[in-house]
């Protein structure tokens, strides 16, 4: 049995997303910008996909800009917002546990002369409302914070950020990287209070290579690329229609979130109790983390060793976040965990349809690994 518990890295494509993509690739080959009927046909598909994505987060269609994925959307948000607002201030507030596409974009801005504040998490991986409140000032032009941390599943108090910005009278836009919460938590842009929000298709059983940035009506970000009229000139270039329509199909399938949440919570509790019963396994995720993600350390066995041991049994999980492969996790480092615990961190991430059998196979294999593998230190 193949056991895929790496759903925060990417998900299996859904049947309807795959079908939508095949249909578009084969028959709707027109350019949405063409004036003739083939163009109109393609434009209609584009519009339907845009509507599905907009509806999935409670936005207007005109507020959705398609991108090549979460990384591009995060870059567009962070760089585009900062560069559009540089006359109004120079401070940017973000966290030390952001995805690398926000983190590195912010470091770039730091080099360009912006003053970037990276808020550190406490030992449980949380960043408090007070931490944001202390960092945001009248000179702050951008606050970028993720909804759910990709390595630990920590949920950040992002719903409070817009209030803090208002109270501090800051000329700041609020960007939320919602990639890991999308399709899991009931996201409503108005409720989050964000001006910009990133989502990605392949985390919700859609295709890789497609994401979207929500840009609230009236908010301006400076584009990263220049060209034609597509995506309201914010992201020009002929639209990747097959991918976008696959995204639309996957977005249209988001639903029943509270039932999914309860079943995943039960599965998480079960898996965690089994894992923690193994000698040497310690939990890194906070108790109130999103149940779709579990981060544990199988202390003594390097993450990569365990990963390859498990893969030999057709069990797929991740060490920290998949985007940074072998690199030491900046998130776990920020939590100031001991090095040996960071070196042996494992991330297990569920989908709503993950099963108890998968969990059992995983825990049995981790137990076997802990008993048989030679400890590195």
């Amino acid at each position: 049995m193949e056991v895929y518990l790496d759903n925060s890295a990417t998900t299996k494509i859904s049947q309807s997303a795959a079908e939508a993509m095949e249909r578009i690739i084969r028959s709707v080959y027109g350019n949405p910008s063409s004036l003739h009927a083939k163009g109109l046909e393609a434009e209609r598909e584009l519009k339907a996909a845009r509507r599905a994505v907009a509806d999935s987060v409670g936005a207007e269609e005109s507020e959705i800009v398609f991108t090549s994925g979460g990384t591009e959307a995060n870059n567009l948000a962070v760089l585009g917002a900062a560069r559009a607002r540089k006359k109004r201030g120079s401070r940017i507030v973000t966290t030390a546990i952001e995805h690398s596409s926000v983190f590195e974009a912010c470091r770039q801005l730091d080099e360009e002369g912006f003053e970037v504040v990276f808020l550190e998490p406490d030992e449980s991986g949380h960043i408090s409302e007070d931490a944001f409140s202390g960092a945001i000032d009248e000179n702050t032009i951008l606050v970028s914070a993720m909804l759910v941390n990709n390595e630990l599943g920590t949920i950040l108090p992002v719903e409070r950020i817009q209030r803090i910005i208002k109270r501090k009278n800051a000329p700041a836009l609020f960007h939320c990287d919602a990639v890991q919460g999308y399709g899991k938590l009931p996201i409503r842009v108005k409720k989050l209070g964000c001006d910009l929000m990133t989502v990605s298709a392949h985390k919700i059983h859609g295709p890789k290579g497609c994401g979207a940035l929500f840009i609230k009506k009236g908010v301006y970000v400076k584009p990263l690329v220049y060209g034609g009229e597509q995506e309201r000139r914010i992201r020009p270039g002929t639209e990747a229609l097959p991918l976008i329509c696959g995204f639309g199909a996957a977005a249209g399938e988001i639903g029943g979130l509270s039932e999914k949440m309860s079943s995943v919570t039960a599965l998480r509790d079960y898996t965690l109790s089994q894992l923690l019963a193994i000698d040497g396994v310690e939990k890194n995720s906070p108790d109130d983390a999103l149940p779709y993600i579990i981060n544990v350390s199988a202390t003594g066995v390097r993450s990569e060793t365990m990963l390859h041991f498990l893969e030999g049994r057709e069990i797929y999980i991740s060490s920290g976040s998949a985007c940074s492969k072998g690199k030491k996790s900046h998130v776990l480092s920020a939590m100031s965990l001991p090095d040996r615990r960071i070196d042996s961190a494992l991330r297990i991430s569920f989908s709503y349809d993950s099963s108890k059998e998968e969990a059992d196979a995983l825990t049995a294999a981790v137990r076997e690994g802990m008993e048989t593998l030679v400890k590195a230190y």
Partner: protein
Amino acid sequence: MKEIILAKVGEVVLKGLNRKNFEDLLIKNIRRKLHPLGAFEVKASQSTIRITPLDDDIDMDEAAEKVSKVFGVVAYCRACAVEKDMEKIKAAAVEYLSDVLEDARSFKVESKRSDKKFPFGSPEISKIVGSHIADSFPELEVDVHTPEVTVTVEVRDMAAYVHANALPGAGGLPIPSGGRAAILISGGIDSPVAAYMMAKRGVELTAIHFASPPYTSERAEEKVRTLLELVSDYAGRIEMYTVPFTQIQEEIKKNCPEDLFTIIMRRMMMRVSEKIAREHECLALITGESLGQVASQTLGAIACTDETVTMPVFRPLIGMDKKEIVAISEKINTFETSLLPYEDCCTVFTPRHPRTKPKQDMVRRAESSVQWDEMIEQAAKNAKVTVIYPKDSA
């Protein structure tokens, strides 16, 4: 803690013996609007309509937004329903309203007690709740004259309700208390706004759009459908008739003087529209004209187009400036779509120098060389219907 919405009914209550009808329409419209979100109980009591969600996971932000788009609601607020117990009321006021109170500088408490069995009188309730709020938010000042936030406590028969300031509703009258009328829509900024304004007065809309393929494209028609869909968010279901107009336009171009092209075209549009309107039980036509905005909207031109029909023609934008019209189109979200650059029936064959002060007899003479009646008849008969619904009402 259960959250409900209280919708305040305005003008509707002034309607004497018709009040019941108006109120029933309003309740029906609110129910229909909220239907896609889940089950609600919608009930009237005095001048308030109480909207209670019956499922646990209903998104009340969306529900409130939907209520804000129902004509006939002058104001609405979200309230917390609690047991009629002073401690619970106090706790609810602080907890439920914490977001609002944290941001405010001053407040007061108003109480209404319709359940006379409740052991505290209104002034007492205000005093107790007020001092509890003041203790919980030390930076907040009491201001009974011009408070930033007015906390209202209503002790009713079934429960007590706590809420803060009401928000303005869509106003107007419930649809279709105003009867049915037909809007002539091209795809510009003005006509969707005119449609919205008449719908606001309770008018149920039918839409008439003129298409002249291949001079106009399928996209232009699609744009009108999108605009109507946005209007239907307020106006409800709209029947749209697309009139094949190519032949009439070509005949005008061939047979009439260039400087009168637009005015004659508009006369033809009015004639076709009146036929369709009568067929579908509309009592009036609506256009988005604003006096003097373009050559065909001068008083002279309007007099020329008006004489072709006997139905009343409503022009709700007649006295408005472009800026005011744009402001409404932004509010109802049609502005961006209106700007899409497709040729429509009004821009095809536009004369270089249109006559701004046409005389009626001159225009009549200019169009007299062609037998229009049969063409008008055919255009009206061959109009094809599409039904437009608000986008999430599937």
